[in-house]
């Protein structure tokens, strides 16, 4: 793989890629399910164990890739083209109640970007993409009823709905100026960030749905950076679980009653409010028609003016989630046992589909600060 990456890196320099760059898809399992099983990828090909935590996967046309097992994560490193593999991976993770793709929301990607700027002082080249999909703003009645309506479109060329997308490549210092300007304009939904490789040339592109492409000349550097980010992601998820299940009191019995009733609520606050038509369309599509990208199910129970309660399930991992929805504020209560990544997923989807102008808090703590705190592990390693 290392040799393969070196060859692709030379081709990238020559702007003539003969074969696809290596890409890794990260799949997460929910806490308490135990070690994730590589069988989740069984539909992609024949899986054979090569080492304690590494498996090869091949189909009749040739190798599909290598699966790496890492506590709560499975990582598929593949050399196939995006068009050959991405949809198949996403379908597999979506069809299982035990697995989901990794969700890197805008705050996490912004943190990676800020660290890159700080560490490399603006000299190294990088790339970012910001995407906002006015999904609920533009949805017609026809769309809602259509069998073709999907919840996961990525490539512009095949899109059937509008996407506001900005993609910029430049030195980190200049990019940082652009990013600040875009943030001032409330354009904040980062969908991809290229993190410069700490030990070699090139970089590693992190996409919000858990894909990481290697644009450096070694596989080892790619794995190191990915693992650092996963360390931060896991620390963040577990911190959120501690706060939302136990109210931040680690000394209490984890199965205790306090866990059930005193955990911190997660609040998504929209300072300017979600526009009425967008809010109504979101409620209609997600909860009445039970469709669309959020994959939440549950009945809307009126709880005041424009305010609803939902005692529902997040169908990504089949987990219970209690919601209070209003145009100004969403409150999310994670009952004991519901995975903390529910917060990352909601954050990523709200930033992408509903509003970019939001503040997220977990109890009394700002989500952004929690991201910083948890990802210090990763940034220390890459420093």
């Amino acid at each position: 793989m290392d040799d393969y990456c070196r060859a692709r890196f030379i081709e990238l320099g020559e702007r003539h890629l003969k074969r696809p760059v290596l890409k890794s898809y990260v799949v997460e399992t929910r806490r308490g399910v135990g070690q994730p099983s590589v069988a989740v990828f069984a539909d992609l090909g024949r899986i054979k164990q090569q080492d304690e935590d590494f498996y090869s996967i091949d189909d009749p046309q040739g190798p599909v890739g290598i699966i790496e097992k890492r506590s709560r994560f499975l990582i598929l490193h593949t050399l196939l083209k995006t068009s050959e593999i991405e949809l198949r991976v996403l379908r597999l993770t979506r069809s299982s109640l035990h697995t989901d793709n990794l969700w890197l929301d805008g705050d996490m990607l912004k943190y990676l970007f800020d660290v890159a700027v700080k560490v490399y002082g603006g000299r190294r080249p990088s790339r970012i993409a910001m995407e906002f999909e006015p999904y609920f703003d533009t949805l017609s009645e026809e769309d809602v009823g259509s069998e073709e309506m999907d919840d996961f479109e990525i490539e512009d060329s095949e899109r059937s709905r509008p996407l506001n997308r900005i993609s910029l490549s430049n030195k980190l210092g200049k990019l940082n100026v652009f990013v600040d300007m875009l943030y001032d304009l409330d354009f904040r939904s980062l969908a991809m960030v290229r993190f410069p490789s700490p030990t070699t040339s090139g970089g590693h592109e992190f996409y919000y749905y858990g894909k990481v492409t290697n644009r450096s000349d070694t596989f080892y550097a790619h794995r190191d950076v990915l693992n650092n980010v996963l360390d931060g992601y896991r620390a963040l998820t577990e911190r959120i679980e501690d706060l939302t299940w136990l109210g931040g009191h680690r000394d209490k019995s984890p199965e205790g009653l306090e866990a059930a009733v005193e955990g911190a609520p997660v609040v998504f606050r929209f300072d300017n409010g979600i526009p009425s038509n967008v809010y109504q369309s979101f409620l209609d599509v997600t909860f009445r028609k039970m469709r669309g990208p959020f994959r939440l199910v549950g009945n809307l129970i009126p709880a005041g003016k424009d305010r609803y309660h939902v005692y529902g399930l997040d169908m990504h991992l089949g987990q219970r989630v209690f919601l209070e929805l209003s145009p100004k504020r969403f409150v999310v209560i994670l009952p004991y046992g519901t995975c903390g990544n529910t917060v990352h997923r909601l954050a990523a989807n709200i930033q992408r589909y509903l509003s970019q102008d939001l503040t997220i808090t977990v109890g009394g703590e700002e989500y952004r600060a929690l991201v910083r705190e948890a990802f210090m592990i990763g940034s220390r390693k890459t420093d």
Partner: protein
């Protein structure tokens, strides 16, 4: 709305014990005061000597518990909160009854010693406490008189009843207020809202022991049971597995283990009845189930059956509560797979 239902009052009190962002519409009053939740719906027995001495002369219960116990370990104090729609003194006055269920419960609560109650929760530093009734503001004066009368009745029998307070809940134009509070300002806005229909989200979705006529609670309970059955059956996959109705109830009601059997029995029966009707529907698709020792043994014999079950459980109609498999479905199943990256 909040003031009307004890289940809403309880959930509002629970919300005041959670940590909210600094400028949120909910003021985490109990946290500010240094109190945290240590028990919900638990019952405590009176000392047997007290019960034996009084039971023939004073109508009371052998055990009772407030809806909620809040504790401040630094102050060494606890608050026993009991939520009520209205003063039960009125009922006693009108009906001339001295032994309504609520009066018997109130006497028992007044006799529970805060220190021993804290001791049974493992909080040995807590030595004092108060009983607090939370009630609609207009009922506060009558409730205070009622509690004072009950206390003096107990004192006449040589007992030392616990301190008591009555907090009023009221809606004003700019929010929900707690009134007559002994621990701080007299009137405290706990929810900033101009919406007269504001309701708290329910951490405890349903509790027939405090709110027997709670239709919304029944609806939420049914929905949560329906979800649990769908997820459990889909988790089993092709093969055999167990569906335990007690586990379903425990997942749905966070305080299940603290409820009395008199409370759990009818709810468990209701859950089983509902699970039976869902399983009867899915048996038409080939799922096999058998009751054994109060649990259901489930068998999904083939991929084909599993695929049918997945379609059924993924239909909007099922989630809305129409569980009949022969009902016409309205549109394609939800969350179709991604079609084009």
């Amino acid at each position: 709305m909040v003031l009307e239902r004890p289940i809403n009052q309880l959930n509002l009190m629970l919300a005041l014990a959670r940590e909210w962002p600094v400028d949120d519409e909910i003021r985490p009053l109990f946290r500010e005061w240094g109190y945290s939740v240590r028990a919900v719906g638990r019952k405590f027995a009176l000392p047997i000597s007290v019960y034996a001495a009084l039971k023939d002369s004073v109508p009371m219960k052998i055990a009772a518990g407030p809806d909620l116990i809040l504790v401040s370990e630094t102050k060494g104090e606890l608050l026993e909160l009991e939520c009520k729609t209205q003063s039960f003194g009125m009922k006693a006055v009108v009906m001339g009854a001295a032994d309504t269920d609520e009066l018997r419960q109130a006497r028992t609560l007044l006799l529970l010693d805060p220190a021993s109650l804290a001791g049974s929760l493992g909080l040995h530093k807590v030595k004092s406490g108060s009983l607090v009734y939370v009630i609609a503001t207009e009922s506060v004066p009558l409730q205070e008189i009622t509690l004072e009368e009950l206390s003096s009745e107990l004192r006449d029998h040589g007992q030392a009843p616990v301190k008591h307070w009555v907090w009023g809940l009221k809606n004003k134009e700019d929010g929900v207020y707690l009134w007559n509070v002994n621990l701080g300002e007299e009137e405290i806005r706990v929810v900033a809202t101009t919406d007269p229909d504001w309701e708290p989200i329910r951490t405890i979705p349903f509790d027939p022991s405090i709110d027997a006529k709670d239709e919304k609670g029944v609806l939420i309970f049914s929905e949560l049971v329906r979800q649990s059955v769908a997820v459990r059956v889909l988790e089993i996959g092709v093969g055999q597995g167990v569906l335990d109705p007690v586990a379903v109830c425990r997942a749905v009601i966070p305080i299940w283990d603290f409820w009395d059997p008199e409370c759990t029995k009818p709810v468990l029966a209701r859950a089983k009845e509902y699970i039976d009707s869902i399983l009867a529907q899915v048996s038409k698709m080939g799922l096999r189930s058998m009751r054994e020792k109060g649990r259901y043994l489930i068998e999904i014999p083939s991929d084909r059956v599993h695929a049918s079950l997945t379609r059924y459980f993924a239909s909007p109609r099922y989630w809305r509560g129409d569980i009949d498999v022969h009902m016409p479905q309205d549109g394609p199943p939800m969350f179709e797979e991604p079609t084009a990256p």
